[in-house]
Amino acid sequence: MAATYSGFESYAATGADATKFNLLSTDTASGTDETTNTAAAPIAIPAASYSFSYERWVRAHFTSSFTTISTIRFWRAAGTLTGTIKIKALTKTPNPYTFITPITTTSTYAGSSGQEGTTTNDLAYSASTTAPGGALTCLMNTSSTGTPGTTNCSDYVVMQLVVPSGSASGTIGSHTFRFGWNEV
């Protein structure tokens, strides 16, 4: 047997989990719903400066049969970002397995804060199944608590879409994100 992978997003104030990963969905009211669709709550293109998506808190969860999981990497593997729209992402720090209610303003945890107009903390891209050099590195937490599992989750990866003024309206289309890891 091998490890069974599940990808989870945590949301709301409680850190409840879902499997939806729509960076365009927002919840500017309370940050308690990860499923708000883009038609109902699009990210407004600002007259100046930047607008931000709801932070997306995602992590890998491993179950079934394995001995160790290590060297977990995360990167963007498909999709096009037009203009200067960016996807910022970082492994959450400190306390990488502790969830905090997502926000729709510039994010320290996703690395957008202060870096909106730079390439710093842009989520690394590679269409390859091999992780690019800039891929995020996560640790395996065997003692993490909370939904979905009590153990065997990766660190949280926090992502956020950054939309600058002057951006063209529309959707950014589908994007693919990948986890890679070493397993025994």
Partner: protein, 136 residues
């Protein structure tokens, strides 16, 4: 897409003459217990069998790597060799695809003049090929 269960059997010869073997289909507590026993016992040799029945292994006394009956000798060890073994997996975030085993590695690491050196077999199941490389 290659089977996620790329390895069917793992075994090692230990210094006390015993042989530890486990199947990938064994329950996790058996596999983990046996794997820990191997790691804690400074194995003399370590080998895995893939789903095609091919054997890939390392002789941790000589630095030799073997594929079936063929033996590839590495540089002589200066310090004790440490086993390196793992499968490298990848999948999409939403789990829409089964994890893909890009490659698995059987090899060793040692220290030469204060620097870590590695050598091993990197086996790419989807491409039906393997290589000897220090990039493990």
């Amino acid at each position: 897409m290659p089977n996620v269960n790329t390895i069917t059997t793992t075994s090692a010869n230990l210094p006390d003459g015993s042989v530890v073997t486990y199947r990938d289909s064994d329950p996790s507590h058996i596999r983990e217990g046996n794997f820990r026993a191997i790691l804690d016992s400074s194995p003399l040799t370590f080998q895995v069998t893939d789903v095609g029945g091919n054997v890939f292994g390392v002789d941790l006394t000589t630095g030799g790597l073997f594929v079936g009956e063929s033996l590839y000798i590495g540089p002589p060890p200066v310090t004790p060799l440490r086993l390196i073994y793992y499968k490298h997996m990848v999948t999409e975030l939403d789990g829409g695809s089964r994890p893909l085993c890009l490659y698995f590695v059987v090899g060793w690491q040692t220290t030469v003049d204060g620097k870590n050196e590695k050598l091993g077999l990197k086996v790419h199941p989807a491409e039906s090929r393997w290589e000897i490389t220090s990039d493990i």
